[in-house]
């Protein structure tokens, strides 16, 4: 596994996930463990989808996009719009998956398109000025949220999951929800696709080279600026994908969705190591699992799980689990 840039060859962080799972298994019955693990992995995959764009954009452009949550919210509202426009009451699994795929595509298109506008209007003007970048992306995020309140209203909108994606089945005494399995699959798919794109394509090669030395990439004749725009749009498109998945999970959407989960997203990105794709995936799964296990074993401690996990990881690895070399 490799993030945007080369990561440390340290194998220990990869062992944290199986260690946590083993620890939890020792503390509970297998059926409970399996249920919690699948559910936790699903939450982790949703977190990953919501967070991956933030870490990609930071890794390549050195831009921390505080408006990222707004793009997640956008994706959620697009999901509401698509599923409302195409009700498939009682339709089969294929129809349900088709509509969800359509919502994902529409959200990615909207998120990517708006990302391009956002980059042109705001990000490009504050290139190389980190402080102003923070202000501009925070401000842009607020505007985004307000515009969505105007467009979709301030009241929560219900988003019933298609019939075929509700419920689940029992395996070995554990209840496995269909939707959660689907989310796990999607998370894996996006992780694999991002990983392959970065490591197996010429475009990915160029992105990794730009992370290290943008000037040299340009001196070789490549238009790094276009590359940056592309990555920014990909990052915001992925945020919108995350929004769709969250919305279908929660069953309802408000304009606060992005603001509500942005802290979690930042925790994932920080634990994983800023800019690291594999780190982001690992951290998201960790967070999802830890929350579920702790919530089951010691409900009173559940609220502090995220912060405690971040603290523990940062004390152990101050730059996150899988930091980029030289970052």
């Amino acid at each position: 596994m490799t993030p945007i840039s080369r990561q440390s060859r340290d194998p220990l962080p990869y062992l944290v996930l199986p260690a946590l799972m083993a620890l939890a298994l020792a503390a509970m019955k297998f059926s409970a463990w399996l249920t919690l693990t699948v559910a936790g992995l699903a939450v982790g995959c949703m977190l990953f989808l919501a967070a991956i764009g933030l870490t990609l954009i930071f890794g390549l452009m050195d831009v921390l996009n505080f408006a990222h949550g707004g793009f997640v919210t956008l994706g959620a509202f697009i999901a509401v719009a698509v599923l409302t426009a195409l009700p498939i009451a009682g339709g089969g699994v294929a129809a349900a998956l088709g509509v969800v795929a359509l919502a994902l595509a529409a959200a990615a298109a909207a998120g990517g398109g708006l990302g391009l506008v956002f980059e042109r209007l705001l990000i490009r003007r504050v290139a190389g000025a980190p402080l102003r970048q923070i202000l501009v992306t925070v401000g842009g995020g607020i505007i985004l949220q307000q515009v969505m309140i105007v467009l979709f209203g301030a009241e929560p909108l219900a988003l019933p999951r298609p019939e075929a994606l509700r419920g689940g089945f029992i395996i070995a005494g554990a209840a496995l929800e269909r939707y959660r399995l689907m989310v796990c699959l999607l998370g894996l798919l996006v992780y694999a696709a991002t990983h392959l794109a970065l490591n197996r394509t010429r475009l990915g090669l160029l992105i990794r080279a730009s992370v290290e030395n943008r000037e040299m990439v340009e001196a070789l004749g490549f238009r790094a600026e276009r590359l940056f725009r592309l990555v920014f749009a990909a990052g915001t498109a992925l945020a919108a994908l995350g929004g769709v998945v969250w919305a279908l999970y929660a069953g309802m959407v408000t304009a606060d969705l992005g603001a509500d989960i942005i802290i979690l997203i930042f925790i994932v990105v920080i634990i994983g190591g800023l800019g690291s794709v594999s780190g982001c995936f690992l951290a998201a799964l960790l967070l999802g699992l830890a929350n579920n296990y702790v919530g089951f074993l010691a409900p009173k401690l559940a609220l502090g799980t995220d912060i405690a996990l971040m603290l523990a990881v940062l004390l152990w690895r101050p730059r996150g689990l899988l930091p980029m070399d030289g970052a």
Partner: protein, 243 residues
């Protein structure tokens, strides 16, 4: 020999970096098919001149022409696409990528031609041995070979190299000199910044000397090499003592 129009020409070029005025009207001509050497003390403005040519700094006044067309103020990739290869002082090797991957990025149009790569490997056999190694694990000399190898892995009209001998062991310098000499024999146009006398003299046809952001001397390399007093005046010490 009558001078045809130079391939690259700087006329009265000024460059500011932030609020510092670094280049104060540089006039420089790089004739086609020749090796031009740019000399000057540390901090004279050699690197700044090269960076201004390739568009990494923007000239605040003056004109830069390449192959008859004005390129002043153009974006770096556009300048590079006209056929200029630039090997910076820090070599610009992508250390997180493998040697093979570095070569894949030699040409913005696509993967470089195998025949051309073979020629580079013949000049720098060590790169073939290290083909799958991360460039960050190469020695300084190997990195320099990779940087120059990558620059010549595709056809260029002008090769700009900033102090290739810097920090290298004498054997490495000799090997690099030989590689560049064979480019010279093939009539490659080169603009070379170099402080190592043996290398500068072996390769240079023309020479220009910079001081405080201006060209203060221009002439044939042979003439400067023969005139110890002139060297002392221009460079503070004879070129020979740089070895």
């Amino acid at each position: 020999m009558a001078e045809a129009m130079p391939l690259l020409e700087l006329a009265g070029v000024h460059t500011h970096i932030g609020r510092y005025h670094i280049l104060h009207g540089v006039d420089l001509a790089v004739p086609e098919g020749r090796v031009s050497v740019l000399l000057g003390r540390n901090g004279a403005g050699k690197t700044t001149s090269l960076r201004t040519i390739i568009g990494l700094w923007r000239a605040s006044h003056g004109a830069i022409r390449f192959a008859g067309a004005e390129i002043t103020g153009h974006a770096t990739p556009d300048i590079a696409r006209l056929g200029i290869a630039y090997v910076p002082e820090n070599m610009g090797v992508f250390t997180t990528l493998t040697v093979a991957e570095n070569f894949r990025l030699a040409d913005w149009r696509g993967d470089p031609q195998p025949a051309r790569l073979d020629a580079v490997m013949a000049a720098f056999p060590v790169l073939a041995q290290k083909w799958q190694a991360r460039a960050g694990t190469l020695s300084g000399g190997q990195k320099q070979m990779l940087a120059i190898g990558r620059a010549i892995a595709t056809e260029h009209r002008l090769l700009i190299i900033d102090e290739p001998s810097k920090g290298l062991a004498p054997v490495m310098v000799a090997q690099l000199t030989e590689a560049l000499a064979s480019l010279k024999r093939a009539r490659t146009t080169i603009l070379l910044v170099e402080q190592n006398f043996a290398m500068a003299q072996a390769l240079g046809d023309h020479v220009a000397v910079m001081e405080d952001g201006r060209i203060v001397y221009r002439g044939e390399m042979a003439a400067l090499a023969a005139d110890i007093a002139l060297q002392t005046r221009l460079l503070g010490l004879s070129l020979a003592s740089h070895q």
